[in-house]
């Protein structure tokens, strides 16, 4: 506490912080930044179903790539050429926004990345990815929620809580820290009177439902603010199609742009399990990637001047086989990509210790071998954006992961 109180540019908030002395050092970088008016935001997009990293950011310069990925390999030539990022990698042409951000130094790729999970079950893989635990199990809280819970109680970020987008709360942001839920809706709204009465009943009889309903009502009011044209918010389907992805990002950006809005959000997009007719530069995967690209676009537009302090990270439970399967798709694999975007990202870079694609270089002779740990990327973002220490990250946020070092300098 004493050390903190001597930090220059101390805000009143800091003084209100209680019981945080043990962790005090963890927050120094953030407070040091208070001087430059930074107001960092972090958006986590979970791509459920296992994203084919080799069709998202293709190693077009690797001599073995085209042979393995066959008809769906990205290429710099042809009718729909991939968009070159550097001399070796090119991004799927369905992602022009990401390519533009990359060129502007506001997007980056971590390639050949994976969590610590090495089996190929979606549901266990998603559990590990979202819980941040070393292995699958009965996880009930997510690493992003524990990160929020690790911030000082009076902190602006902790106070605003997290934002969960979609009809159900993604595991990654479930837990003790408060979470606001929101999804695009189009149902007639009951009057406040009924809502107040139900809340009153829940407060007496069912605090869990009371908390959930209160958050739902709050989120609805914020997102449906009067500047909003109601028609644009009609649901266009679940979060497994391009329109739904774009729309959910639009609403989330609106909530997060508010001065008292949440600084941390989680979205889950479904549909990446491309076993059959995956497509390459066009087709099923490209359509989904176009939706993800649209989400980046909506966040950039909707966050306005907050964009410069924003980091978005898109993660998936594991990658897919390097070689296409018998049905012009890919089966469950290992290494894949992590996509980073946002004004806060030190972009224009592909961060990869490229393992190569020769049979002996593939993981179990079938998958892109993982050379970066997804947790390292996430830790780096949490450290740079919110000043969480390696100790807190390695113990509380990602338990038993002290050996996985935060990836440094992801944030400009």
């Amino acid at each position: 506490m004493r050390l903190l109180c001597e930090t220059p540019n101390l805000s009143r908030r800091t003084v209100l912080m209680t019981g945080g002395a043990l962790f005090a050092w963890a927050y120094l970088p953030r407070f040091a930044r208070a001087a430059d008016n930074r107001d960092p935001r972090l958006i986590v997009i979970v791509l459920r179903g296992a994203l084919d990293g080799l069709s998202t950011v293709g190693p077009v310069g690797d001599p073995d790539y085209a042979g393995l990925h066959g008809d769906i390999a990205l290429s710099l030539s042809g009718a729909t050429p991939a968009l070159p990022l550097d001399g070796f990698f090119a991004v799927n042409p369905a992602m022009p926004v990401f390519a533009r951000l990359f060129k502007a130094g506001q997007a980056a790729v971590v390639h050949a990345a994976a969590t610590g999970y090495r089996d190929r079950s979606h549901f266990d893989g998603q559990d590990v990815l979202e819980s941040g635990l070393p292995g699958p199990g009965n996880a009930t809280t997510g690493w992003l929620n524990r990160a929020i819970a690790s911030l000082p109680a009076g902190d602006r970020i902790a106070r605003a809580g997290g934002l969960a987008v979609g009809p159900s709360t993604p595991l990654v942001i479930r837990g003790a820290a408060p979470v606001l839920g929101w999804a695009p809706q189009a149902l007639p709204t009951p009057g406040d009177a009924l809502a107040e009465r139900v809340l009153d009943l829940y407060n007496h009889r069912d605090p869990v439902l009371a908390a959930a309903l209160q958050k739902g009502l709050d989120a609805d009011r914020m997102a449906m603010g009067d500047q909003l044209d109601g028609k644009t918010m009609k649901p266009k389907g679940g979060l497994d199609n391009a329109a739904g992805m774009r729309q959910s990002a639009q609403g989330a950006a609106r909530l997060m742009a508010a001065d008292d809005g949440p600084r941390i959000a989680a979205l889950a997009f479904d549909g990446w399990d491309t076993h059959v007719n995956e497509g390459g530069a066009t087709g099923r995967l490209a359509n989904l990637l176009g939706g993800l690209d649209g989400a980046f676009d909506e966040f950039e537009k909707g966050l306005g001047e907050r964009w410069k302090d924003t980091a978005i990270v898109a993660i998936t439970e594991f990658g897919r086989t390097a070689r296409i399967n018998g049905t012009v798709g890919t089966d469950h694999g290992t290494g894949t990509v992590v996509l980073l975007a946002g004004g806060a990202i030190k972009g224009g870079r592909i961060i990869a210790d490229w393992p190569g694609l020769k049979p002996t270089q593939l993981y179990q002779q079938r998958d892109l071998a993982p050379t970066s740990d997804v947790r390292g990327v996430l830790k780096g973002l949490l450290a740079d954006q919110f000043g969480l220490s390696a100790a807190v990250l390695g113990d509380k946020v990602f338990p038993e992961s002290a050996a996985v070092k935060p990836m440094r300098d992801l944030v400009a």
Binding site: H122, F123, P167, T169, Q185, P188, V198, L209
Partner: protein
């Protein structure tokens, strides 16, 4: 003995029977009578002849198609759509040439007029959507008409366990309802292995998990066309349908099983392999030779090879444990008592997967009657309970109910992945979910015609164990509609 008890002790047996096991009370349910003999009330439902089946003799269901007819209709519609697209493309290609002849002074204006007309063309509902709605209506009617609804809950449980998703494509949209009627309903009080075999043979499942495209690399078709395995179905059978994840099978087992399942496919539109839309075994695509699965060698036996493996897997202890855990989680609690899981697993093993015996075991075990009613109803169970409570349903059905389910995050036969919809309170008690329940309760209460006294509805739907707070909130409501909406939102109505 079964006098209503305070909710601080064991729950009211009538609410256990109707809510934990069933789909909720109806206005004419006699809670007092049910409470006196709740176990036999549930067992009586199990004994009704053909209780799990959707009768297509009934007037309202006469239009339901079997999966073969449904898939054939979808294939024909797909051809028609393709022809229409081709014709449109051809017409578009012709247009510039046609417009050259009369030297049109303002072609851009003509274009501007043409495009809104093209958009205004009446949209023809695809036949698959019609079939889906008819099947949805039949599913809802069955749930609304059931007495306690225990059997319909079992249908929902197994349909979610062996789920397909209509988001996969029009073939599944057309056949998802028929799949449930053909592969799930006949077996919910039968043998697990029989259901497993019916499910994995069904075109909807083979299509959903991509097996119709999986080809043995060494089969004739594989050699000729250079195509190969797709492991999706093999993996999900072991991980989700039977043994459960982490139960000891390896990647080698998955690959081997995928090979055994090659050739399990659906006959295509041209009918080369059999009647279009039916299951066929295509020997030309089957990976020849013996195969090893979970340490056991299966000789080359064509379709019988994978059938033998499925029968073996169905009887594995890991399968018994997996099914027992899921059933206990569904019917008792998110963290079910280990003794209850163990008992269900023992019954599964001892009876060779007799699902009627498992249902009776659930009724007989003390844990189902003593555990507090704490699970949040899933969206489907909630919407059905709501519609059962408000007997008369005006409005645009089944679209209204389908829309509600979509808004609540549980669109019918459209789970996010092959593991189905979640089965935990955490997943459904979300901020957004509860807000949407409030919207729906309000909408339903406003649309209900002829609402009785909400206090009397409370007495007949929830009964004497209701909390003082709920009773007071409803009696103080400012309108009948508001009182009914409060009842539909009460913890006693949300939890089961």
């Amino acid at each position: 003995m079964a006098a209503p008890v305070s909710n601080s002790l064991a729950p009211d047996p009538a609410l256990v029977a109707l809510n934990r096991f069933g789909l909720g009370a109806k206005p004419d349910s006699d809670l007092g009578k049910i409470a006196k003999d709740a176990r036999n009330y549930l067992k009586a439902e199990l004994k009704q002849q053909d209780i799990a089946l959707v009768s297509v003799d009934e007037r309202t269901n006469a239009g339901l198609l079997d999966s073969t007819a449904a898939i054939e209709a979808s294939m024909a519609a797909a051809m028609e759509r393709k022809t229409a697209r081709d014709e449109k493309a051809a017409a578009a290609a012709m247009q510039p040439a046609a417009m050259d002849k009369p030297a049109d002074p303002a072609p851009s204006k003509a274009d501007a007029n043409a495009s809104p007309n093209a958009k205004a063309k009446p949209a023809v509902q695809p036949v698959e959507a019609d079939i889906y709605r008819a099947e949805a209506q039949a599913r809802f009617d069955k749930a609304l008409g059931a007495d306690a609804g225990f059997v319909e809950r079992l249908v929902g449980f197994w349909s979610n366990h062996f789920c397909v998703s209509v988001a996969k494509g029009q073939i599944v949209r057309a056949s998802a309802g028929a799949f449930e009627r053909e592969a799930i309903r006949p077996f919910v009080l039968g043998r697990f292995a029989d259901m497993l075999l019916a499910v994995e043979h069904h075109p909807a499942m083979l299509f959903y998990l991509d097996n119709q495209q999986s080809i043995g690399p060494d089969s004739r078709a594989g050699k000729r066309r250079g195509r190969g395995l797709n492991e999706n179905l093999a993996r999900e059978i072991m991980e989700l349908h039977t043994l459960g994840v982490g139960s000891g099978y390896s990647q080698t087992d998955v690959t081997s099983f995928a090979g055994m399942l090659t050739g399990w496919t659906m006959a295509g539109r041209e009918g080369r392999l059999g009647e279009p839309g039916t299951f066929v075994f295509n020997a030309n695509a089957h990976q020849p030779g013996q195969a090893v699965l979970l340490g056991k060698t299966y000789p080359d036996g064509g379709m019988g090879q994978a059938e033998a493996a499925l029968n073996d897997i169905a009887g594995q202890p890991a399968t018994a444990q997996h099914i027992a855990t899921k059933l206990a989680r569904h019917f008792i609690a998110d963290d079910p008592p280990p003794a209850a899981v163990a008992r269900l697993a023992r019954v599964f093993a001892k009876t060779d997967g007799d699902l009627r015996a498992l249902a009776v075991t659930l009724i007989d075990m003390p844990e189902t009657w003593s555990t507090p009613l704490a699970k949040l109803r899933s969206p489907f169970d909630y919407v059905m309970a709501l519609r059962r409570a408000i007997a008369a349903s005006a409005g645009n059905e089944p679209q209204r109910t389908l829309h509600w389910l979509m808004a609540l995050g549980q669109p019918l036969w459209e789970p996010p992945g092959p593991n189905g919809f979640p089965d935990s309170t955490d997943a459904w008690a979300s901020a957004e979910g509860m807000k949407t329940r409030l919207d729906i309760a309000w909408q339903a209460a406003r649309q209900a015609n002829d609402i009785g006294n909400p206090n009397q509805m409370l007495a007949s739907l929830i009964g004497p164990s209701v909390s003082d707070e709920t009773r007071a909130a409803i009696s103080r409501a400012e309108s009948k509609q508001q009182g009914l909406a409060l009842l539909l939102m009460a913890p006693e109505f949300q939890r089961r």
